[in-house]
Symmetry: D4
Subunit: 134 residues, 8 copies
Amino acid sequence: MAKVLVVAGSKSDETFVKQALDLFDEWNIDYNFEVMSAHRDLEKLTVYIKNLDDDYKVIIAVAGLAAALPGVIASLSSLPVIGVPNDVGPLKGVDALLSMVQMPKGVPVATMGIGNHGMKNAAYFTKRLLKEGK
Amino acid sequence: MAKVLVVAGSKSDETFVKQALDLFDEWNIDYNFEVMSAHRDLEKLTVYIKNLDDDYKVIIAVAGLAAALPGVIASLSSLPVIGVPNDVGPLKGVDALLSMVQMPKGVPVATMGIGNHGMKNAAYFTKRLLKEGK
Amino acid sequence: MAKVLVVAGSKSDETFVKQALDLFDEWNIDYNFEVMSAHRDLEKLTVYIKNLDDDYKVIIAVAGLAAALPGVIASLSSLPVIGVPNDVGPLKGVDALLSMVQMPKGVPVATMGIGNHGMKNAAYFTKRLLKEGK
Amino acid sequence: MAKVLVVAGSKSDETFVKQALDLFDEWNIDYNFEVMSAHRDLEKLTVYIKNLDDDYKVIIAVAGLAAALPGVIASLSSLPVIGVPNDVGPLKGVDALLSMVQMPKGVPVATMGIGNHGMKNAAYFTKRLLKEGK
Amino acid sequence: MAKVLVVAGSKSDETFVKQALDLFDEWNIDYNFEVMSAHRDLEKLTVYIKNLDDDYKVIIAVAGLAAALPGVIASLSSLPVIGVPNDVGPLKGVDALLSMVQMPKGVPVATMGIGNHGMKNAAYFTKRLLKEGK
Amino acid sequence: MAKVLVVAGSKSDETFVKQALDLFDEWNIDYNFEVMSAHRDLEKLTVYIKNLDDDYKVIIAVAGLAAALPGVIASLSSLPVIGVPNDVGPLKGVDALLSMVQMPKGVPVATMGIGNHGMKNAAYFTKRLLKEGK
Amino acid sequence: MAKVLVVAGSKSDETFVKQALDLFDEWNIDYNFEVMSAHRDLEKLTVYIKNLDDDYKVIIAVAGLAAALPGVIASLSSLPVIGVPNDVGPLKGVDALLSMVQMPKGVPVATMGIGNHGMKNAAYFTKRLLKEGK
Amino acid sequence: MAKVLVVAGSKSDETFVKQALDLFDEWNIDYNFEVMSAHRDLEKLTVYIKNLDDDYKVIIAVAGLAAALPGVIASLSSLPVIGVPNDVGPLKGVDALLSMVQMPKGVPVATMGIGNHGMKNAAYFTKRLLKEGK
């Protein structure tokens, strides 16, 4: 059963996300990958996150621009949520970084760097996290 | 019946929001004011917005930091949504501005300026909008 | 009769603007598209905006760099004005965003995101706005 | 007869502007000081600038936030226009700087620094300019 | 035995860090709090982190300015490392944010927001993380 | 005799500067164009500027990066100095803009926009300036 | 004989500079402190730097805003030049940082951080530098 | 014996670094060039720096992104350390610049400009530094 859920806000994030999925494959860590937008699929996303299988231990949320996805997921789930800002658009991901890292208290998003390094580090952080816990 | 819904993401935004409410009072425009956070009350917010009275013509959403509120409301409602970035926190509202203006296509947020001028302009824009339409 | 006026500050914005016009065509929303600069055609623009046909319900103003166009139109008309910052020039539209969103109180510009998403969202916001009103 | 016209976008800029006026007084340079907003008084401003006395040699335009004033004046007059960004609002004048310096070709605004140094330098630059010419 | 190690880069961060420690106290989560700088105590820090008790499940690293502490700890330990940028200095924590979030691939730092909200969210994220794992 | 002196900080600015020179040619305004760096040729530049022909009415100074040239010339000459930030280097001219616009009081640099529009506007502003004066 | 020359661009930098001078006093390192502006005293500065006593081993240059001082000194002297951006003005020293660090090749300025930490580090770096060399 | 140690954080910085090495070759200045990451090789780096040959007079540290390398080396060595921010990644080296220049007091990094000019200036500054000293 998959322990990691990876959600991207847009179909166009798939190649970007694959950098992390390839690492999970290499490490034999099971994951599910879904494309759901906080802005275009909010109700579907709500139902999906509220009914997640208990096996999941961590959620990675990837988005660009006004990147609400990680914060919205963190508000719906009690799992640790990792946010990755994609470096798309004229602001090259600065908008996405601020949209996910500057969360109000109580709803944390563990934010990785902008772009490729950040996407890979979401996998590396997940690996660390899966080794620890209660 | 109120035509304008004003939603703020935090109790602490109330004094800030009052600048717009005072203008509505002065202009005899009915409004409802609610405090609901996209991050702390997402499910309650979803139900609330999905069941809005048909009299509402426009929604003003006010938030600071990673300001997901306007975008989330715009994804739940087909009404015009106006976003106001509050100039709180160490980045003085630059984070909030980018979090609400940089929306992906299909889910528009009509964003006002950062801080007091923007809050008042949300009222001024609403007044213009209520005069027009079908 | 056209309900939407789209004004761009420069001939070179035409391809950019077309992204919104195509949506209006698809939705059968009538529009007029004009190229007039706040800086090069101010008096002509003033006369044009002051004598707009009463059928217009909303104005979309598109500009790059020191993007005064949306604010100037908002000062000449009592219609709702939507501003779109084009991502041209070395600052990639950050200058245009700040030049239109940071309006003083009383003259609101409903600002969309920088670049293509923002241009399309001007159309999406207009569609919402045309359904509502008095 | 005054050779220098100083225009500020808001009553609240008066103390700020006085820093330059005091220098003009010290140097016995005649000036007129007017408060007119590009956004709130555009038509009055247009008439005023189009009918300026021929004695004027230079115009100083002071504004904060989305500071359209210098550019608008530069589009209405063929005189040299000096822009001064006031350091007001949450962005401390960065918005005003970009709104006046990033002018499209053909409508130049000679921009001074943000805040007090810039305001005084508008006077110093005017002094240099009045000594030169045809 | 403590499961959470909190390290701050400077004595002056103590009041700031206390916001998270108070939450741990409230939730009965054991922690150790140390002040060690990546720049002033690197060798001591190296020995300390390399010899951490096996009970530790997560490390929170707090720093301002050129905030190397979280990244350095992440390079010395295989535990999940959470970084918190303190909003000190003339850049109000933007320097600290970029210094910890923009990590190269392989050495992830889970970065929280700048300032008070981020400091508290480090505790909230830790609580989520301690519930999950292998 | 030439009334306009154009100085660029680097040989590599020549194509960029030509945009203004072509306008001067078109308008029959005489100019001299020199390449001298504030940082590599300071003493030569000092002698050159201190011994300028009295016919000169205005100096245009073009530079990128840490663009000290316009300010240095303004400190050596009592002529009006126009600064143009070239959009070179990783910061795309933001460094050059701030290096020339943020002058201390008493030594004004009339700054144009970053890049091509600014370069052309230096010519347009010069044309306005040459018509006015004592 | 003094080995360290400290130059500040303005009288108002004195308290700021004293943070480094106190360290030199504590370490028994001789220094001279002068106030000379690259913009207001360029010729005096040129003569002064060109005729420096051979005992000097390093120059510290402190300035705010469009901080040309360190670069100008580096162009006049073959000594190592350390630049310190003072955090004055509305941009809090970001302008000064970029004005001194972004030097063209061949004229290096060794730049310290913005504000108090940077000012003290100019002393610490000098101490390191004086121990090394030919 | 080499007097200059050049350390880059990543294999991919080699071409970038070569711009300085070529200058050293031209000037017959001996150097050693090593690739060691503050984040991936911290313990190896620590041993290496703590056991440097006494002939070394200066260290140049090159890195991009969250560029901890120069600061970490400055904390391990009492030699003067020069930092060069590589203009890689979506932020074009702004992250690297802030990560190395904003050092806390006591651990100075002499920072050069972002990218090619900065890399070459590290060599030029080294040349100046090697001529001076005790």
